[in-house]
Symmetry: none
Subunit: 377 residues, 2 copies
């Protein structure tokens, strides 16, 4: 009991120390990634991007979180055992990633059919809530030389929040703008990492699975804000860090191999951050300051007594002095009455109701924009 209490106290102290310790922003932690993450405080990062190893079939490559090597076993058990140990490895790093993430943070994992099903099932079991699976469709994949299967032309990413009810960041407008004013879909066409972007040492590619920066660019632009902290437990040659720097995000990496850490450090130092204007993304209306309809009436932008009507002029209403509107015997807010008259569950009164303004028919929202322009220069 005494021992347990002492241990408890020691751990509490450690946690407190962790919590007050500054995050090692812009650094690559060496050693095993699970151990490295244990040194980070809980609920401290906004997003985790993970590109874990998935060479299940090769064997011998897997180590337990404690560093011990996974022994090969008899052929009969080999399959089960390698899946089992891969699952354990996955559970361990996912568990630490979950601890380190803020409640409103999110997780990205990339993988292929060799490992992604196991990773996906595991993260669901740990309480992560899948928001999308995203397909990276390679525009220039390696062909299947033997002609024995379909060309393996894509990889899969999973994007997950901390739980079913958890909030998360999604820059909807930025994505829609990026996609030529159409909603961004769950399938992304991007070339593989090649040409000058591909890091080489003496003519040989420096890392076997270097990801294209465009992929990380879209991931970060979509699901983080400027200044957010991004953690990559399998940093490799630092694509995550390079793109984070470019997009004005903070980053932390974990990488076991000193060789990759050196290459990544050099690479990220050379990366140029985008300037402020380039970083600004399309914002949703949500971000604009709220204006109550009553304020427009109060300030005279819309006079009491003004007739309102919907686009097809099926309904007409009149503005009252207090910002409510009335139509026959029914009245309410611009939203509530709009919904009531349409029999709809909800209604955005700003876009539903129109008025005559300078000889033209305009939605209320247009007046709101004028008001915002005039009052917030």
């Amino acid at each position: 009991m005494g021992q347990t209490l002492a241990r408890e106290r020691a751990r509490a102290t450690a946690v407190r120390k962790e919590a007050s310790a500054p995050l090692p922003l812009g650094t690559i932690l060496g050693g095993d990634c699970v151990e490295a993450m244990r040194g980070l405080p809980s609920a401290s990062v906004d997003m985790v991007f993970a590109d874990p190893p998935y060479n299940l079939q090769l064997g011998g490559d897997l180590n337990r979180p404690d560093g011990s090597h996974v022994d090969a076993v008899t052929d009969a058990w080999d399959k089960f055992d390698s899946f089992g140990s891969y699952d354990a490895f996955t559970r361990d790093w996912l568990t630490e990633a979950r601890r380190v993430l803020k409640p409103n943070g999110s997780l990205w994992v990339i993988g292929s059919y060799h490992n992604i099903f196991r990773v996906g099932a595991q993260l669901q079991d740990l309480g992560f809530w899948i928001l999308n699976d995203v397909v990276w469709r390679k525009s220039n994949p390696m062909p299947n030389f033997k002609g024995t299967r379909f060309t393996n032309a894509h990889e899969t990413l999973i994007w997950a929040s901390m739980g079913e009810k958890a909030r998360y960041t999604f820059n909807y407008r930025a994505m829609k703008t990026l996609n030529d004013e159409l909603q961004m879909r769950s399938d992304w066409v991007l070339p593989i990492c090649a040409g000058p972007e591909r890091l080489r040492k003496e003519g040989v590619k420096a890392h076997p699975t270097q990801k294209p920066e465009a992929l990380l660019y879209r991931v970060m632009l979509a699901t983080t804000n400027k200044g957010d902290v991004v953690l990559d437990p399998f940093f490799g040659t630092g694509t995550t860090g390079a793109v984070a720097k470019r997009l004005g995000r903070e980053w932390i990496g974990c990488e076991r191999e000193a060789r990759y850490r050196d290459i990544a450090t050099e690479r990220i130092e050379a990366a140029l951050p985008l300037d402020e204007s380039a970083l600004t993304t399309m914002q949703s209306r949500k971000a604009a300051p709220r204006v109550a309809f009553g304020t427009l009436v109060e300030t005279g932008w819309i006079g009491a007594g003004t007739p309102l009507f919907d686009k097809k002029r099926r309904h007409v209403a009149t503005v009252r002095a207090d910002g409510s509107i009335v139509s026959g015997s029914a009245d309410g807010s611009i939203h509530g009455l709009g919904a009531k008259l349409q029999g709809a569950p909800s209604c955005n009164g700003w876009t539903y109701w129109h008025l005559e303004h300078e000889g033209a028919t305009k939605p209320l929202d247009a007046i709101r924009q004028l008001y915002l322009l005039a009052t917030e220069p």
Copy 2:
């Protein structure tokens, strides 16, 4: 010991009896699919195509921005208590599917991010060997109305053999021909099932999750041979059966709901095998912007069996289901066979080959233009 022996002998007899019992080809078995599959002999079918419930776990109602209501999948068959019970369900039907499959057979499963990771992990655990994961990229998915995530624009299929060393059927040439002489990739662009192909009863869709025939067409053409037996444990309204009949494959279905069995039976009876069928059943199908000749066949714009000829009618050829064409003992793609017959180094099949269309002789290219006109306004 005596007991064990007796049991062994009894089981051997049972197996022998099963093996000699004729397969219920071309029939839909009622009741629970696991029970139904138990009645089938071991190692008796060549391919299993499964479209199991996705376990969607939907929340409340969803409305479009225009206020209309989204008709969601709320059926009892998609409700599971927990991931655990879904996993158990998955393990059960996969186990029977595995028993029923021949050693050189293969398995296809389709799903979404809600369930596919669990299914994929389970089938690996049971010894299946994943050959490809294939992404069905929907050309016309439902948007994300609230702007909260990426448009969920794809579903995932897993194709697996019976084990790492197991053999399997892959019609590489057929796929390459279907894709205009490029290797078929792991991402397939196909429209969702709508229009005349979508089965309706009194104007209401007959089944909430009917799959497009083009999807099954490609699956069967790629991984089965003529005369092979295809089993679908979640038969629904019988897309698998209809396509199997069209492509000259045998089929067995399992379907719990009598209503769906009736619809499927009627549908399959009306389906026409191969040649003259395609045009009438798949008229409104659409596909990728870049049009492969195979796509025109797959979508019914040019029916399998259609005679082709050059402008001076020196050569005649016939269209095959996979988009290849045959003339006497020679065959190939529209380009390759055209070149071969002329003794030319190359040939543009699109302008060389002609067909009768609405009483006139037209080059293939004219049909491609019609197709593009119809699909890309």
